[in-house]
Symmetry: C2
Amino acid sequence: MKGYLWTSGLEAGRGEGSSYGHLAPWEAIATDAVGNVIEFWGFKRNQGRVWALLYLRGEPFTAGELEHELELSKGGVSMLLRDLERWGVVRRMRSPHDSAWRYAAETDLIRMVSHVVEEREAGFIERIRADLAEAYRLAVEAGNVPREHLSRLEKMATLAEHVERALRLFIKTARLDVGGILGALREDSNRQ
Amino acid sequence: MKGYLWTSGLEAGRGEGSSYGHLAPWEAIATDAVGNVIEFWGFKRNQGRVWALLYLRGEPFTAGELEHELELSKGGVSMLLRDLERWGVVRRMRSPHDSAWRYAAETDLIRMVSHVVEEREAGFIERIRADLAEAYRLAVEAGNVPREHLSRLEKMATLAEHVERALRLFIKTARLDVGGILGALREDSNRQ
DNA sequence: GGTGCGGTTCACGCGGTCTTGAACTATATG
DNA sequence: CATATAGTTCAAGACCGCGTGAACCGCACC
């Protein structure tokens, strides 16, 4: 039992097992597909589902609507939206009459990837480098470490640097590469 | 049985209770660092640790030695080595006198990444594409789906293709990019 | 103040993944 | 053949991250 059911009279039954709120079957498939791919990339599946639905429907949703459509919990939606907003893939907007926030899909998903990859790097790859440096320091200090061992350790560190550089390069080129298609996406969402 | 063995005074160092078999402190740090980064890339932490130790020590190890040094279980080592061998980052060799297999680190780690990424793509990205196509089919069939919704769904699919292409490109360039440094790695291991 | 509603936070439980350890197979050795 | 040792498989369990749902906060309106 996910959350509380909507009191709207439209509630057309439908209640069997793998049902999604009000989503049309094709929407369920599409949002799930995005969810899967996004999960594969190391994010949360539901982050992908939320973004996908917002994008497909093309109009801003409230948290409550998302909760209902995707059958998520109130708390879950809150956290998902916070992450998505922080990464710039979802825009929070106050709609004129309604008192609730609404959220709209931003079209350059690549922000999500690049932002998070960078974020991870910051706290993580940095740490790796520090660890390798520390290991080197200790090894030298110990004194009895064979020279080749030391040199391999050094090479390992430079390998790490190279991989990191390659990764950054990827992000940069990916941004450009996907830019084209995303330009197309954007022209659509301008309409509103 | 996380180590009721080997109480060498040296390993007091490491922050908490995580003592490592015979590893020198610097080795423990280095292998762990590699383990972390490899885990971050979606593999098992211990796969990274095994490779790292083999590489750092520069000589082939038996499964039993790895089991002891890294404090892993027999079964675990067996599975880890099988994966690593399958990916071509570790080479199995029968040593002349000993009756047991020995394993040596191969130097182009990128094989691991590229192999697995490709493997994942095969079964996975393909699936995503199929799902999006299916969603499109259903949406058209339903008939009452707004035109813009359909067009956004299409764009989503082309986005997926672009990302996939970018990914392949990354693998290819990464292979080259890291090739240089890995050539250096290799020149070292030749020497024995 | 009180009530209702949107939104946030967080301890807990569930589900999935990795590791373990024991049973088992394979292979060498006397 | 018997025995020992290397290596594999797999069920059970440890472990960890995610989503849930309830408590909580803040604000608007009566």
